[in-house]
């Protein structure tokens, strides 16, 4: 789905086709002059189900958690739930999509999004007619 307005894709606009909840991962975002850094908490997410996409300026991270039910055991007390994680961010800076680094360790996805070098400003000559 292309994002033409530049607005973050609202998650609640449309209902998911999948049965089950969709969670927003808890996220830290900071930047320096070279890059934008994100760390997203995705506990229990299978690394194979992780998806990171950058389309135009919208970065989307998704993943699925839910394979941790021990065989032969039944849940007797629950404080957290399994399901799908999904979150999108609209990036204000131009990002060099080819140099994005992603690492998933201990349930935390760390992304480094290097900023692309701005094109040198071009001066346009205006010729006065007449």
């Amino acid at each position: 789905m292309a994002d033409v307005t530049g607005e973050p894709r609202a998650r609640h606009d449309a209902e998911s086709t999948r049965n089950g909840p969709v969670f927003l991962p808890t996220t830290d975002i900071y930047e320096n002059k070279d890059a934008l850094y994100l760390s997203l908490e995705l506990p229990g997410v299978d690394p194979d189900s992780l998806g990171v996409t950058l389309e135009k300026r919208v970065l989307t991270v998704c993943g699925h958690a839910g394979g941790d039910a021990p065989h032969g055991y039944s849940l007797s007390h629950a404080e957290y739930r399994s399901g799908h994680y999904e979150r999108s961010f609209t990036l204000s800076d131009a990002i060099d999509g080819d140099r994005i680094e992603a690492a998933f360790t201990d349930g935390v996805l760390r992304l480094k999004l290097p900023k692309s070098q701005p094109a040198p400003a071009k001066t346009i000559q205006v010729r006065a007619a007449g």
Binding site: N19, G20, P21, V22, F23, L24, T26, T27, D28, I29, Y30, E31, N32, K33, L36, Y37, S39, E41, L42, P43, G44, V45, D46, P47, A65, D68, A69, P70, G72, Y73, S74, L75, S76, H77, A78, E79, Y80, R81, F104, D106, G107, V108, R110
Partner: protein, 148 residues
């Protein structure tokens, strides 16, 4: 929503009923990640089985060797610390949603556990603690001899 007709077989497929209850719970909680009982960090799920109890806890960003587990009789204590990300100077923050700092949780178990038998592992930010039920506490099968 699927409505069951008046003639629906209540006992035929118990899993369908469970699934419907699960769906209703999901709707009631909306997209809430944690249930209202999860006030402390880390949130835990408790699983019971014939061989004992398994506790799973969400500890994103915490290494297994940074977690201190102690078992004393029927009390499990889980301690550790979440350290903030290392970031250089001249950084500006956009969002700070993650929390950091020490944590400690005490969980009461249904039986006294032999500390030597406790196994802990971690996978993708989920801590898995296996607490086998002691032999003495297991139900024993009583053989019945019919007297003629």
């Amino acid at each position: 929503m699927v409505r069951h007709g008046p003639g629906a077989d209540l006992w035929g497929e118990p899993l369908a009923t469970l699934r419907r209850i699960q769906d209703e719970i999901n709707r009631a909680f909306g997209d809430q990640r944690w249930t209202p009982s999860a006030a402390e960090f880390p949130p835990v799920n408790v699983w019971r089985g014939p061989d004992g109890v398994i506790i799973t806890a969400e500890i994103p960003g915490v290494k297994l060797d940074a977690v201190d587990l102690t078992v004393h009789q029927n009390t499990l204590t889980l301690k550790g610390s979440r350290s903030p990300e290392a970031f250089g100077a001249e950084t500006s923050w956009h969002r700070r949603e993650r929390s950091y700092g020490p944590f400690s949780r005490v969980i009461e178990l249904p039986y006294a556990v032999d500390p030597d038998k406790v196994k802990a592992s971690a996978r993708n930010g989920v801590l898995i603690i296996e607490l086998p039920r002691p032999e003495a506490d297991r139900p024993h099968k009583i053989s019945i001899t019919a007297s003629s």
